[in-house]
Symmetry: C2
Subunit: 205 residues, 2 copies
DNA sequence: TTTACTGTACCGACTGGTCGGCACAGTAAA
DNA sequence: TTTACTGTGCCGACCAGTCGGTACAGTAAA
């Protein structure tokens, strides 16, 4: 009992180094998967460290070992999420002919995919939104960056309108407040696709 | 210390009677105002009963007297919110010439108002969304109802597109993830207005 | 007397985070 | 081959704080 034989605790800590990830990568992934599952099934409000640990078949200590704080976990979750999202969009774009508006079209197509596919994005964003401003800012940054990409080779009007409309549908479905039934939704998706593909006549006459 | 003298825990609870509102209407309003203020200033996560009481210059007991549960408070908040929103839209519509698309135009105009006006909606919605599914369903119901109104006298395409686009801008600004600067936002608003006013040529050729 | 509270004390559940310690793989001297 | 030691990865008990909700005595106006 004299002194403390284990657990160094002498480290200078260095004011948050670039988030050196601890633990086995596989454990981290498992825990992130668990976090997504919990958020989707129980809602963001129930996304607790205990719940993640249980779901991952790990202990709370194990979670804390891999992610020093809950915010670190959310940050990693967000990172993985945006990364996947970006990759998915790029993959779709790669299949499209190389012409102006390709990135915009790919973005729209990626956003309106059948939502019950487990792209997992939903729950986590909610969890993040309801939290630290820092994380929110990351999301905002991602949105800005993405808008730059999709508006790179088309008119502002076209990109902006497609963007707000697509995000509108996506966010409403994320929060389960969309008023559309399946048929209506299909039509909206059709409209969004068309919107991404052609410039409208100048609507502000 | 012997046994447990307090905390009944024997109550049948009676499955929630129709929420008879207690207290003076003015007190209730003050507390709802306080709740909005707290949610806006401290975030939805800090919207606690104690915080509401302090902010309202009341006691916690007083809050509990007026709203038997926190959910009842949120419910009342949501009710007042949607009611105000509806009234604002209707007021705008009343100023508009009576022609097809009037409700749609009014809805768009109401939604894109300068957001730093204290229409208060923001914080509270977040607070509500992050919570019980019951309340979320109310929001969904409001959205459905509103879409019926705005799509009553125009084509589905026009109403649907204006709706998703308007909500997209609104929700992005609500979560502070909009990528637009002031000039860009103004242009987007212009586009939305135009969208609400005229049918597009059939974009799905 | 009733209504509408105030004010305070307290409970129980839950939450993020800490801490001591353990299993085990690797290593390297004996 | 055995023994001793080290660092990593993780467990699980625990802690302090927070929050919703309860209880109840007192009070002041109608």
């Amino acid at each position: 009992m004299s002194a403390k034989p284990t657990t160094a605790a002498l480290k200078p800590v260095a004011a948050k180094p670039p988030q050196a990830p601890r633990g086995r990568p596989s454990s981290r992934e498992t825990m992130l998967d668990a976090a997504v599952a919990v958020a989707l099934e129980q809602g963001a409000g129930k996304l607790t460290l205990d719940a993640v640990a249980r779901r991952a078949g790990a202990s709370k200590g194990g979670v804390m070992y891999n992610f020093p704080t809950k915010e670190a976990l959310l940050e990693a979750l967000l990172e993985r999420l945006t990364s996947h999202n970006r990759q998915a969009s790029e993959a779709i774009a790669a299949e499209l002919p190389d012409q102006p508006g390709r990135a915009l079209k790919a973005y729209v197509m990626n956003s309106v995919r059948d939502p019950d596919e487990d792209d997992r994005v939903s729950g986590a964003l909610v969890a993040v939104v309801n939290g630290s401003p820092e994380l929110l800012q990351r999301v905002a940054g991602y949105f800005s960056q993405r808008f730059e990409i999709i508006s790179g080779d088309v008119s502002f009007d076209r990109a902006a309108l497609a963007h707000v409309a697509t995000e509108g549908l996506w966010l409403m479905e994320l929060f389960q407040i969309s008023p559309f039934n399946a048929v209506q939704r299909a039509r909206v998706v059709q409209l969004l696709s068309a919107l991404a593909e052609q410039d409208l006549p100048d609507v502000t006459a």
